[in-house]
Symmetry: C2
């Protein structure tokens, strides 16, 4: 079972990496860019056959290690 995790900065938290990308894109002539936010994407392969149990484990992983829940949100998608 595979889990796809998106970790994104909460709205209101400054994203200097996103701003740097935005400026680089504007510098390359992409004028239509209004905002850029960068997050993390993590794929975890689990030896777990129950989707609900997998989601609980991955949620625990996010709380304990993967995300800084003070400034970041995480979103978990379980796929086969």
């Amino acid at each position: 079972m595979k889990a796809r995790i998106h970790i994104t900065l909460k709205s209101g938290v400054l994203d200097p990496q996103g701003k740097a990308i935005q400026q680089a894109l504007t510098g390359l002539g992409f004028d239509a860019v209004e905002d850029v936010r960068q997050g993390k994407y993590i794929e975890v392969e689990l030896s777990e056959s129950d989707a609900e149990a997998a989601r609980t484990k991955v949620s625990d992983m996010c709380e304990k290690l993967l995300a800084n829940t003070v400034i970041e949100n995480y979103d978990i998608e379980i796929v086969d």
Copy 2:
């Protein structure tokens, strides 16, 4: 219009960051973890109303700046 971009390492390319996460998770007692791959997730807000035009632009951004296409794949999703 918003574009969600996933940038992941091609299969076969070593992912030391993913391996470090995997070891940290195992160290925390998450034994069910078999593999971890880390990628990037970028959200781009565009002043473009046509979805096809937006996709073309974002694809161009990936080729020119966001992804290293020698070792990375990118996947674009256009949302309203």
